[in-house]
Symmetry: none
Subunit: 330 residues, 2 copies
């Protein structure tokens, strides 16, 4: 079966011809005359049967689809291509415009471009295994509203019961692992921390700079545990983290976004430093809290984060979401 | 000049016809027969002369171009549209595939789609002023720290002096423009608002849902003007906005991110509703403020946003940034 499919994929290339039902521009008539031998020139995806959309992104204009190609499981990934400056003249002269809206000096259109100027990058994984399909599956998120009581009754018991291991964090703090990756350390047990690059950053360019400061204090699970007594710790991380990044990467504080996550992905206090202008995953307002805001809020109200209703997204497969659902809080 | 341009933009719609040089599919021959009267059917962008690319995003597949339409300055924004699930069957059967690479079970292609299944959203600003051109030009951003005093001494005088026009907002509130786009309205002069899709959203799929609620009250410039007296307005926008979106788009509140911008892009109170999971531009923690947080903060401290130090990014070419620099605040 695999061979058949692979052959079909290759055939489509070797003929270099569109499927007979694809007609455009001046070749219409020629194609019309060639009709009849569909099996030879068939587009490998023309018989694709969609089973489900695994995920898609309206922002990035891509879609991940699970389906069947000739009875074999396949994953097809479509992604629109960036608009190239060198194609603009031809795009403007060769397209059709449909007016949608006009208001004052603003108007919007749907532009229909010649296909060769507006290609879609297509990746086919065939045959695809269960693992491929899971890999590309998006897990939906839901915004959860967590009151002070919800934290005590739902979230905290869940965290305690799960007793997520943070041994890897302790390994870093004790230099048992990743010691060579440390960018800066303040060893003070109360206000000290270790600063190191996040795994998501390849450190090849500062455009997507991403570092994590991990507090030496071990008893702060998250934002919810912070009170005014932690202001010196937060101020120290904020200040010395910025200085270390300026020194090491020549990036001033005005180019940094410094924040905590709630919920965090592990329950040991840590602070994210990312470059302003880089859309780092998790820098959205629904999960990130600027450390400068956190400090101010604690200064004016020591119990701010103990008492406040907090909002955060949880993925459909997160155990905590089930707990909120069971409690009738979603 | 403005009239001419507006007329040209409209003409393109009224004829409802593609430019003569755009030929596709079965209509080729008909179009061919109609050739010769180019001036009547002209595509408004067919004579567009590009001066420069102001910015582009390979990730988001968009491009912002400055150029001339019939001797008038114009900004043209092109953005590829998200891939729609309901178009997949036709896309697969009606496209041409060109094989690029094959390795084991993985293969990649360039897919050439029928133009009507692969449109490019096009926005034209014409005539465009220097301000528009600057607005769309990619510029580095800097994080600014604005204290209560900075707002009074730097930001507020700048806003007042610039007196940015919000006539287009009043046009919407008075139904002089975009009336047919309104999704929901509460006409109450104190707590009422108009809800309509943001220009960035093509409304073809809810994955990148983006609506704006514009308050009927005209004296609230931004977050900085809000006090506890505005809590009923904010609660009304939050509650009725969510209900309207559930009713119209079948999207529950747990899938929404609802927030204000500071600085806003125009100084008339408005609230952003975007889909959770869609990385909407401007949803980052450095600019967005969840309306639920804003309401809570005002409830516990009526002067919260009048007195708080606020952080926000400003682009290098923003006049306000120069003011902060002149004041030695950056």
């Amino acid at each position: 079966m695999a061979d058949t499919s692979a052959k079909r994929l290759l055939d489509s290339d070797k003929t270099g011809e569109p499927a007979p039902d694809v007609k455009r521009g001046k070749t219409d008539n020629e194609n019309g005359r060639e009709g009849g031998n569909e099996s030879v020139q068939e587009n490998v995806l023309s018989g694709f049967k969609t089973s489900s959309v695994l995920s898609d992104s309206a922002r990035e204009k891509n879609i991940f689809i699970h389906g069947k190609v000739a009875d074999q499981d396949a994953v097809v990934i479509l992604e629109k291509t960036p608009i190239r400056e060198d194609s603009l003249a031809e795009l403007f002269s060769g397209s059709t415009l449909k007016l949608e809206m006009k208001n004052d000096i603003y108007s919007t259109y749907r532009l229909q471009a010649p296909p060769h100027l507006n290609e879609i990058k297509t990746t086919v994984v065939c045959p695809a295994t269960e693992k491929h399909i899971k890999k590309y599956q998006r897990k939906e998120s839901f915004l959860v509203e967590e009151t002070e009581e919800d934290y005590k009754n739902i979230t905290l018991p869940h965290i305690v019961k799960q007793s997520f291991s943070v041994q890897w964090v302790y390994n870093i703090l004790e230099k048992k692992a990743e010691a060579e990756r440390i960018v800066y350390e303040d060893p003070d047990p109360d206000v000290g921390f270790v600063l190191l690059p996040d795994f998501k950053w390849d450190q090849k360019q500062v455009d997507d700079l991403y570092l994590i400061a991990i507090a030496h204090q071990r008893d702060i699970k998250s934002l919810r545990d912070l009170t005014s007594e932690h202001v010196p710790l937060l101020q120290n991380i904020f200040q010395k983290g910025k200085e270390a990044i300026l020194q090491r990467y020549n990036l001033p504080a005005s180019k940094l976004r410094v924040y905590l996550h709630y919920q965090p992905s592990y329950y040991h206090l840590h602070v994210h430093f990312t470059k302003l202008g880089y859309d780092a995953p998790g820098c959205g307002v629904e999960r990130a809290h600027l450390i400068a805001d956190v400090i101010q809020n604690l200064q004016s109200n020591p119990q701010y984060y103990k008492t406040r209703t907090l909002y955060f997204p949880l993925r459909a497969d997160d155990g905590l979401l089930s707990k909120f659902k069971e409690a009738g809080r979603l």
